[in-house]
């Protein structure tokens, strides 16, 4: 007897019991759908976080001082860093959040960030309108400001702000540019910023301690060299190592990638367990089915079915069940993933490997859990089986 006959007979057995067959494969359907949709969500999160980190800048290295230990950064560090060959640009940052600003009668609390002309390049920010600060303006402590997109709508109510004067902490600043919207990155709203010359910020905020120095490495290959050089520069300045924290974009990316890969794997593994449980469901029903069809098995054997014919019939039946469950699971998994992405606004990425992985796992589960019932069926003694009521 060839395999097509086995498939035909097995299919007939499944068709004869539609509702039960569907319930049998429900576990596999849910398992496969869960693997595919959860991995697609995990991958979506990974990609979103990665692209957010990439948007932070190009070859960005972030330097922060350990103030408690005496690691204070000032604008004097900027030229030291600029001298390094592995570094192309440096943008200092002195910022204060919840600073009140006022235009006419409207007020708003924003983050004021004092910096220099390199900021847009280093942080990968772009101007929407007007222009950014120049080196001269920074040196001359000009009272000018570049505002983020959100402030245009929230404070100016849509009026073109360029040339307008705003009050920051009660001091008058003239608006010269508007930044492109950046959205929220890693929980930080980047559209609520006012950029002013570093020198003006020192006076306005009454401090020379920088919060952060943003450094752009000359190339991505040189990022690690740059980190070492930065560390050396500050060790030279403070006379002690480890008074600054240096984080590169690549490190951040790597950390986030491995974190989200772990997350994705965990989601997949949990979903995989439900697949395994689905397989046990198949075995359970197949065992019941073998008992119920003992007489049928007896008849088939009496008229000439060999052991392997019966084995094939039941094994093929459980494989067909798991394949159908797998296919339905793929369809439902894709639908769930689409629904999640459209209703919750999450990015989901359905990967081919997750489909192949879950599908082949489902089929393996079907074979593995189908073998025992099929063997049991094939070993039945036809005389005993025929007597079975």
């Amino acid at each position: 007897m060839n395999i097509w006959e086995s498939i035909r007979i097995a299919w007939h057995g499944i068709k004869g019991n539609k509702i039960r067959s569907l319930l049998t494969i429900l576990g596999v359907i849910i398992g496969v759908a869960a693997v595919i949709s959860l991995i697609s969500i995990g991958q979506g999160v990974t990609q979103k976080v990665s692209s957010q980190i990439e948007e932070l800048g190009t070859n960005l290295i972030v330097v922060t001082g350990m103030r408690n230990l005496g690691g204070v950064l000032t604008k004097d560090d900027v030229p030291l860093l600029e001298k390094a060959e592995t570094i192309s640009k440096v943008a200092p940052s002195l910022s204060k959040s919840t600073t009140p600003i006022k235009w006419q009668n409207a007020t708003l609390e924003v983050t004021v960030e004092g910096t220099n002309q390199n900021y847009p390049d280093v942080r990968n920010f772009h101007l929407l309108d007007g222009r950014f600060l120049t080196e001269t303006e920074v040196d001359q402590r000009k009272k000018i400001a570049v505002i983020a997109q959100k402030i245009v709508s929230d404070l100016f109510g849509g009026v073109n702000p360029i040339g307008e004067t705003i009050l920051i902490n009660g001091q008058r600043f003239s608006v010269i540019g508007v930044m492109e919207p950046k959205g929220e990155v890693l929980g930080q709203d980047l559209d609520n910023y006012v950029f002013i010359p570093l020198t003006s910020a020192e006076r306005l905020l009454g401090t020379t301690r920088l919060n952060t120095i943003y450094v752009q490495a000359a190339s991505s290959d040189q990022a690690s060299l740059a980190i070492a050089e930065i560390a050396a520069i500050f060790e030279g300045k403070f006379g002690k190592p480890d008074l600054v924290r240096i984080t590169s974009q690549d490190q951040l990316l790597g950390t986030m990638d491995s974190m989200s890969a772990t997350l994705t794997m965990m989601l997949g593994a949990i979903a995989g367990i439900s697949l395994l449980v689905g397989g046990i469901g198949i075995m359970n029903i197949m065992l019941v089915s073998v008992t119920e069809r003992t007489r049928e098995i007896g008849i088939r054997k009496a008229i000439g079915a060999k052991r392997r014919d019966i084995l094939a019939q039941f094994l093929v039946e459980s494989i067909i069940l798991s394949i159908s469950g797998g296919i339905l699971g793929i369809v439902i998994g894709i639908i769930v993933s689409q629904v999640v992405s459209s209703s919750l606004g999450w990015v989901t990425i359905i990967s081919i490997w997750s489909i192949l992985l879950s599908f082949s796992f489902a089929v393996l589960v079907g074979i593995f859990f189908g073998i025992y019932p099929a063997l049991k069926a094939s070993k039945l003694d036809p005389i005993v089986a025929l007597r079975h009521e």
């Binding site: 007489r295 008849i299 054997k301 052991r307 025929l386």
Partner: protein, 243 residues
């Protein structure tokens, strides 16, 4: 064509050994039509299982169509059952989810006969038992007599050497019983070898030969006199004319 030589079937060992069959010697020639009779517990079911290659004898030789089958394993016996024996059971034993013609095709599937050919053979067999117009009916849509005729069609579709029937009329009313017996008669007239296990004297009367079994032994093996067969056959014809 069928020969049992010193067949023993023993359950248990040594002191507790029970002989279900004791030194059975039976020869069945081609074209024979024999009834195996005996009260329950006489060993006739065991004999029937051995004859049907469903069970193996403990010792002795069993030849069927030139094959010595007493030493074969399960799968080899399955092949013998498939190719040389047609089974008819008391409970019909049709698969309820298959149509009549699909049921008849079943042994041919296991024989590896191609689809079109086995459909043709199945239809021919159903025609022989007068069910050409019931091909697509399921067993539940057929009467007991019709179901047994489907079972006969299934048994003869592969043209086996031996037709083995176990109480084939046990579940039927007398009308259907006679229908079935007349089909057996027709098949035997065409040269089919038939063995019927029964405890019904009326059924046995239709056969050419009666083998009586008791306590695992053959106690009588006699031909049925032509006279009593004639009576039985006349009865059949009467029924046939009436129907």
């Amino acid at each position: 064509m069928l020969q049992l030589k010193g067949i023993n079937k023993v359950y248990g060992k040594n002191e507790t050994a029970v002989f279900a069959l004791k030194n059975i010697n039976i020869t069945v020639e081609e074209g024979d039509f024999a009834a195996i009779m005996g009260p329950s517990g006489s060993g006739k079911s065991t004999l029937m299982n051995v004859l049907g290659c469903l069970d193996k004898a403990s010792s002795g030789e069993f030849w069927i169509n030139g094959h010595e089958v007493s030493q074969l394993n399960d799968d080899e016996l399955a092949v013998i059952r498939n190719q040389h024996i047609g089974f008819i059971f008391q409970g019909f034993n049709l698969l309820p989810t298959l149509t009549a013609v699909e049921n008849v095709e079943l042994p041919l599937i296991y024989r590896g006969v191609a689809k079109e050919k086995r459909r043709k053979l199945a239809i021919t067999a159903l025609e022989q038992v007068g069910l050409a117009n019931r091909l697509e009916h399921r067993p539940s849509e057929l009467s007991g007599g019709q179901q047994q005729r489907v079972a006969i069609a299934r048994a003869i579709a592969g043209n086996p050497a031996l037709l083995l029937a176990d109480e084939p009329t046990g579940n039927l009313d007398s009308r259907s019983e006679l229908e079935i017996l007349s089909i057996f008669q027709e098949l035997n007239d065409k040269g089919m070898t038939i063995l019927i296990v029964t405890h019904d004297e009326v059924v046995a009367e239709h056969c050419k030969r009666i083998i009586r079994v008791r306590d695992g032994e053959v106690i009588q093996d006699q031909s049925v006199s032509l006279e009593s067969r004639k009576d039985a056959l006349a009865h059949l014809q009467l029924v046939n004319m009436g129907g």
